[in-house]
Symmetry: C3
Subunit: 318 residues, 3 copies
Amino acid sequence: MLLSKIAKELGLSFDGEDIEITGIHTLSEAGSVQISFFDNARYKDQLSQTRAAAVLCEERYALLLPKETRVLITDEPYLKLALASKLFAYNISTKTSTPSLGKNCDIDKSVVFGRNVVIGDDVIILANCYIGDDVTIKAGTLLHANVSIYHHCEVGQNCILHSGAVIGSDGFGFAHTKDGRHVKIYQNGNVIIGDDVEIGANCAIDRAVFGTTYIREGVKMDNLIQIGHNCDIGAYSLFAGQAGIAGSTKVGRNAVFGGQSATSGHLNIGDFVQVAGKSGVTKSLEGGKTYAGFPAVEHKEWLKNQAKLSSLLKKFKS
Amino acid sequence: MLLSKIAKELGLSFDGEDIEITGIHTLSEAGSVQISFFDNARYKDQLSQTRAAAVLCEERYALLLPKETRVLITDEPYLKLALASKLFAYNISTKTSTPSLGKNCDIDKSVVFGRNVVIGDDVIILANCYIGDDVTIKAGTLLHANVSIYHHCEVGQNCILHSGAVIGSDGFGFAHTKDGRHVKIYQNGNVIIGDDVEIGANCAIDRAVFGTTYIREGVKMDNLIQIGHNCDIGAYSLFAGQAGIAGSTKVGRNAVFGGQSATSGHLNIGDFVQVAGKSGVTKSLEGGKTYAGFPAVEHKEWLKNQAKLSSLLKKFKS
Amino acid sequence: MLLSKIAKELGLSFDGEDIEITGIHTLSEAGSVQISFFDNARYKDQLSQTRAAAVLCEERYALLLPKETRVLITDEPYLKLALASKLFAYNISTKTSTPSLGKNCDIDKSVVFGRNVVIGDDVIILANCYIGDDVTIKAGTLLHANVSIYHHCEVGQNCILHSGAVIGSDGFGFAHTKDGRHVKIYQNGNVIIGDDVEIGANCAIDRAVFGTTYIREGVKMDNLIQIGHNCDIGAYSLFAGQAGIAGSTKVGRNAVFGGQSATSGHLNIGDFVQVAGKSGVTKSLEGGKTYAGFPAVEHKEWLKNQAKLSSLLKKFKS
């Protein structure tokens, strides 16, 4: 879509050199035919480095952009981003076509495929699964009944997806109007699942807002787990039941999350981190250690504090 | 069903003026052709105000009812209510019929409709959804694959329901026998979802026992969220992943619930309340404030207590 | 499969008397045509008592086995167990056949049945359910739409399974290689659900690794609950929304679990135990009492501690 048309749709003025725009991404990731936005002072340093074709931002920040970057001035860049995201949203439909099937596949006849689906050799798909447009499922993977995979997601080789798992549902992202309504930021990214991954029953793995939510090779998830949009879950990490990782958190390799544990969004969880069950992680965690509690601290500190607290309460006469 | 017949089915005596009864409701909500019950001293004041045709209650409370109210005397009113609820339970079946479809709908051919379904214009329903009897889905709404909507529920305009979402499953309500068995209270109410609501993957929104569970306009839910029966979720409220609201809790407008937070049942959560992730709300909350912890307190108090506790533990030599 | 062949597949030497092996089980449960394994000093006393045909164990423990027990010596018994489990894994496929149906069943035509399914009288199964091979569903049971039941599971009489419920998904069990990869322990057991059980929307009940996960008569579960493999959930127990019971935990009769509560694995929860919402149970619990907190303690102790702590924090000037 032409940038001039985008500007018009957003009710913004634009009189620079026009250009065909193909999508939206963050300041650091946007390429030369994408637009971006600036709404959070935390990313101010990225303004001068962006390669975006155009940026939605407040007037006072426009000067920090590279000279060649086009600007769409607005007092509400995040809200305008939300409106722009709809212009690039995928057109969901029930159109179907015959998938490209590998050898020796065993697909139940109730499975519904969108268009341009590619299925590798020896894939088994049980009843009532839905495989959206442009999905790829690699060789040797097994989908149990009632799995839903949204458009443009990829599943690696030798994976097992259990019943009720949902791959590629929309991440939870909204801009907010001054009167308290929420405007959807269309989640135009996808999910890529590596090889040898197992996803438990009724898990929900959200697609990225831009780019990709990654579940790397060899990750194993128990049931009812939530992975937020744009997470990057490191290889061989383990998640016990009902754990949740909020959006944009990066988890290292061989991390272990106990049952009902959770993290906030936008964190960095190091390699080989272990998080005890029920813990709530609110800060990034150094690798190779065990953490517990809420807010989570090192497990040995948590144990010491628990012991002290217990001792303190015993001595205390109220 | 005639009240005399209901009494007979419940093994209770009744010799007043007979009347055709159409359903069951609470003391405060029951109308002139419904029966009600009294089992909780908390609602004693409602006895004299009820407009119910008849009330299940212990003999000693019968005098508190309006003169014209018929009484079904029982030592176990809640258990009798449970048995009565079955008499009015909806007759679940696989009967189907062609829905009334608006213009420009895009419905996958695998979708199964019960009877008397009404679908507005421009509705999209992807594969393997189930839409129960007497469901209404308004214009512009999108159902992703594998959504289940139970009978008699309503979904507003321009909603998005993600895969695996379940709307209208039975609320969790049982009477208990003296020997410890649980007798189902049939959940004869429904769910009404307002306009512009988004429900995440694998959420479960229970139908009301009587009346309606409301999800008001503009509410946005992330994945794996549970809303108990008879909740009323205020407009524009937001729920992060794996949050849970227990039955009969009323949430104001523009409330925000963090990931894995929860409330007890029968609470009142004020407008613009924010509840931090992992918090457990056990009491009603005044509007416009932020709360945290378990049991949840005001966030600033929680922070102060956390700081004090940390300082206390540092000083303490066990 | 001949034991000599199993040994060969695992790369282990075996030159004892050969025997046809039918499966794998624990030291205490394995029968005379099953193999077992020893990997945890906690079960050392069981070595001398086992009736297993053969045991995977380290050389130093071999002498503790009964004289007649065959031994497969390995430095990595748990990893070899995982590899062996695959040899006995059920061959998942989309093969279907007509189920054996009782009288007066009402089955939606979109329901997919595996082979050898037996359905009792008066069973209702709504749209898009999947019923795997060798499943039995007894009389009077109702399955709402989009339920998935894996092969070899049993559901009792007069049960209600709500939409999105998954029965018999794989338990979460892996052996770990020295370089941090996870090798699946195939979950070759099943789930047996007793009579009068209700399973809420989007619950996940995992099948046993060996033997059976039991949900006993009259258990009632709210939505989004996880039951780990090999649990034994006692009769008439109640689970509020989003509760989770980790693998191999045994729950007594008439236990009550509050919303978002959880237990660790391998615990014994006594009869009539009540666990408050959000609690985390890390130790076995004596019956007949109420518990709260994390780690969970007796509720009255928790209340006393909460009061003391609150009083302590009030007095403390940081």
